[in-house]
Symmetry: C2
Subunit: 187 residues, 2 copies
């Protein structure tokens, strides 16, 4: 039997994810990944196959992190106020410094063109759909709403999240908080 890997794949992917998160897909080079992940190119390729492979795993890693916020929301019984809290949690999650990194999924959706890699596009679509399902489930706690109202409100919340993600990059926390308060006014 040969020697064991010196690195942990989950650990190095988290580092890669942070790099993609800060700089986007195209700007992030294999050279930067090598440095940030702390392993040789060969190791990267033997573990993840390609730059695209590293990115797809990074997206998974990002989703896992965001799932912590989503799970908290899923367990919430505060209806729409739980979603409001999710918006606040999202700001803390994406805006550690003055320059917010936004949501990696939203960033990527905005960066790529129509003829980008299909696996990446699928990954973005499926995650957007997942979040929408969570929102829908919470909204259904209010039994007075019909299906089409739920659908519309879930879409509204998803698109508001897109806006919030972009806004973290240039707006202050106070402005972001005001935005949330406006979204959930009278709620």
């Amino acid at each position: 039997m040969p020697r064991a890997k010196k690195y942990n794949e989950e650990e190095v992917i988290e580092k890669a994810m942070n790099l993609f998160w800060r700089n986007g897909y195209e700007t992030t080079s294999m050279q930067m990944l090598e440095k940030e992940m702390g392993i040789n190119k060969f190791s990267i390729y033997s573990s993840f196959g390609s730059k695209n492979g590293v990115f797809l795993e990074s997206l998974k890693c990002y989703k896992q992190k965001l799932n912590k916020l989503l799970n908290k929301l899923k367990e919430s019984e505060n209806g729409i106020l739980g979603i409001k809290q999710y918006f606040y949690d999202f700001i803390d999650f994406t805006k550690e410094t003055e320059f917010g990194k936004g949501c990696l999924v939203t960033n990527t959706a905005n960066e790529i063109g129509e003829d980008a890699d299909e696996q990446i596009k699928d990954s973005l679509r499926s995650f957007t759909e997942e979040v929408k399902q969570v929102f829908s489930k919470i909204l259904k706690q209010d039994r007075t709403k019909d299906a089409s109202t739920i659908e519309q409100q879930a879409d509204f919340l998803i698109i508001s999240m897109f806006g919030l993600s972009s806004a973290t990059r240039i707006f202050t926390k106070e402005q972001l908080h005001n935005y949330i308060e406006n979204i959930f006014k009278n709620k």
Copy 2:
């Protein structure tokens, strides 16, 4: 005196702008620009200095196009309903096909990292500020609102525009219209 240019700088920049709009800054290469603009690399460099130069001019070109919608809004006397119409106009402007290109300014803001080119970041910031000023001016048509309310509502509308821009990429026109109706509910 030497010979005159065979191409018109405004015309070729519009073509470049469309390429950046579809594919983003990093994905768009000089080779692609050469082909799309229909002129030699030398001509591109003698006219615009660098890829960054081409992009900065493309941003100006994009702003001019968007200004047509903004000018219509500026002349509007319908208050917030004029802004609502601007949102609808924006959808027609950015979503010609099923895959919406979004707003070039928003796309770029989401693509670039913190240490991106300062001129580009300035250009994005200034345009965002310009649009916000137009929104503020319209909102001031309602004399009952105080300054801080105006400020908050203008921020709200800008961030909603960010969301709309991202949403054009994956949502249907019907969904986008529903979003707008939700934004301007009871208005």
